[in-house]
């Protein structure tokens, strides 16, 4: 099993992330009003430019793989599309130029995603609506059209179907829905598929409730678009096959997931409050957990490859050595670390979400979690594909300010070990 690559990017939560098409740069929201672009410098990521335009927290970023444009959205109810241009003052440099998006919403924008053809994007919002945006040549801005019905609360997540027309949306009214976003100026009529035959604007092609009434945090279409999965705050994952028809709900023993992606037609990765990405696999006949991408039982120092993470539980006597002297104990070292290195002031130091005792797989040792991420994972995204189209590497960012790149295959060997954790 190969170790994940972990980078300590910031001492603040990372709200969203998106890689450039060639994976040499990274756009991040560091829980602030500006989006930052980072470039790889040796092993570490260094900030190279700032996308400054929003005046509230940037909630989501997406980087179009073909057209190389970035779109950001924010709690200030705006979104901007950023294009690369050469700097007029020094032509060798590139700068990012924002283009206005006319959203016309009266609540925060929560998530933004480019459509597969990159000629549209969707913005989810707290205004009980989803804005579908397309470029208006005449006005030189991005115009939007809203889907409002039958959404009853904040839309928390969206995901595009590969046909560029269907959009899945998860909302705080405990439902996941599939909408048509057909714009006759932009789209060609899509052929019929498992979600329906005709797709006029804002048709509801599917509506599914979360089983025990949790907010739907994340939605995702399978690579073919024939299945949809969503995870909600009741610690469940639901996978929907409209063709079968089958709705499979997995009640997990762990804390809720807030983000998920499909890695293949029969596998998905979900991550969230348990601080570790979990791999699930299955088909329309049934789904089961395969394992964690994080080796929570392994020796932490050997499989943790970060260059800049102080992980020794304490100074002096070393991690596991017997405590010598009255002051050389865990609590003392904790305060000493807080004083000399400021470690406990990191927002990512959790008070123990997911205690190891209660079925969750994350062990706690000396206040630190046995997982690579030390706090909730906020987003998981595909990083690398194999030639046949399955995702081989995924990237995650978390509230602990870390960026981690995981091998999807790392989870497979863990199945028996994890099954024990689940079923005891």
């Amino acid at each position: 099993m190969s170790a994940p690559d972990a980078y300590n990017i910031a001492q603040v939560p990372l709200t969203a992330h998106a890689f450039s098409p060639d994976r040499s740069a990274l756009a991040l929201s560091t829980n602030s009003n500006d989006a930052q672009i980072y470039a790889k410098d040796g092993y570490d990521w260094q900030p190279i430019s700032t996308l400054k335009q929003h005046d509230k927290l940037v909630t989501s970023i997406d980087w179009a793989p073909t057209t190389d444009r970035i779109v950001t959205c924010s709690q200030d109810r705006n979104a901007y599309v950023w294009t690369k241009e050469s700097n007029p003052e020094s032509p060798s440099q590139t700068i990012w130029k924002p283009t206005l998006v006319v959203l016309k919403i009266n609540r925060a924008a929560t998530q933004v995603r480019w459509s597969p053809l990159e000629n549209k994007f969707a913005v989810a919002s707290g205004a009980r609506s989803i804005c579908i945006c397309s470029f208006d040549e005449e006005m030189n801005w991005w115009a939007s059209k809203q889907i409002k019905k039958p959404i009853r609360s904040t839309v928390l997540s969206i995901d595009w179907h590969p046909n560029n027309v269907l959009l899945a949306a998860g909302s705080a009214d405990m439902k996941a829905r599939v909408f048509s976003t057909f714009l006759k100026e932009v789209d060609k009529k899509p052929p019929p598929n498992v979600w329906g035959d005709k797709f006029p604007w804002s048709t509801v092609c599917g509506e599914y409730s979360s089983s025990s009434g949790g907010w739907v945090h994340t939605v995702g279409f399978s690579p073919s678009g024939d299945a949809m999965a969503f995870a909600s705050h009741d610690s469940t994952i639901t996978i929907v096959y409209p063709a079968a028809p089958a709705v499979i709900t997995l009640k997990t023993t762990m804390l809720p997931y807030v983000t998920l992606i499909w890695t293949a037609e029969d596998a998905l990765i979900a991550a969230g409050h348990d601080c570790q990405p979990m791999l699930y696999s299955g088909a329309s006949t049934g789904w089961k957990p395969v394992g964690s991408l994080d080796d929570v039982n392994g020796p932490r120092s050997s499989n943790f490859s970060s260059a800049s993470s102080p992980r020794t539980p304490g100074g002096g006597g070393g991690g596991n050595g017997p405590a010598v002297g009255r002051l050389n104990n865990a609590a003392f070292n904790r305060f000493k670390d807080a004083d000399s290195r400021g470690t406990s002031s990191i927002p990512g130091t959790p008070s123990s979400p997911g205690g190891g005792l209660f079925g969750g797989a994350s062990g706690v040792s000396g206040g630190e979690l046995m997982t690579v991420h030390q706090n909730t994972i906020t987003s998981v995204r595909p990083y690398e594909w194999s030639p046949n189209g399955t995702v081989t590497k995924v990237s995650t960012t978390g509230v602990d300010g870390k960026l981690v790149i995981w091998n999807v295959s790392a989870a497979v060997g863990l199945a028996p070990k994890l099954a024990g954790v689940h079923l005891r």
């Binding site: 025990s212 009434g213 949790g214 009640k251 023993t253 762990m254 209660f358 079925g359």
Partner: protein, 157 residues
């Protein structure tokens, strides 16, 4: 000291399109009278099963189709009393077997009743030590996911 009265203002009442509680989950298809009748017949059946010592079947019958939602408070209380009768008559050593035999839906319902009972200290049959040992065993089997579902589910028992 600053007044905190503004926190008690229901700002949603001015919203013409407010999200109502009943839109968040599907209502019980049975009407309240049927629910109460069901709860009564289950209670009688459970007493018979306890007398025979068949606590597993008794537990399952109470937890399946347990009453939820508004206007069925009497049925909810009766179901809680019936359930407490079973919980208190189970030997501590048998609890893990009983818990494992339940379906995951029934485990979630059991957890809801455990929290409901713990919120009513001093109520007739509430025996905190029995509740805590059931809670411990149930959490070992169903995980914290089960507790999360009790907190999120609007279908309160």
């Amino acid at each position: 000291m600053a007044s905190s009265d503004f926190r008690k203002i229901n700002i949603d009442q001015y919203d013409e399109d407010q999200l109502l509680e009943e839109e968040l989950y599907e209502a019980d298809p049975r009407d309240p009278a049927t629910v109460l009748a069901d709860a009564k017949s289950k209670a009688a059946g459970v007493r018979g099963l306890i007398a025979k010592g068949d606590l597993g079947t008794a537990l399952n019958s109470v937890l399946e189709n347990a009453p939820y939602g508004p206007k069925v408070d009497d049925a909810k209380i009766l179901t809680l009393q019936t359930l407490l009768l079973i919980l208190n008559s189970t030997k501590p050593a048998e609890i893990p077997t009983r818990v494992k035999a339940l379906s995951s839906d029934c485990q979630d319902t059991l957890m809801k009743y455990l929290y409901k009972a713990m919120a009513m200290p001093g109520y007739a049959d509430v025996n905190s030590s029995a509740l805590l040992s059931w809670h411990e065993k149930l959490t070992e089997v169903a995980g914290i996911g089960c507790i999360v579902r009790v907190m999120t589910d609007r279908k309160t028992v």
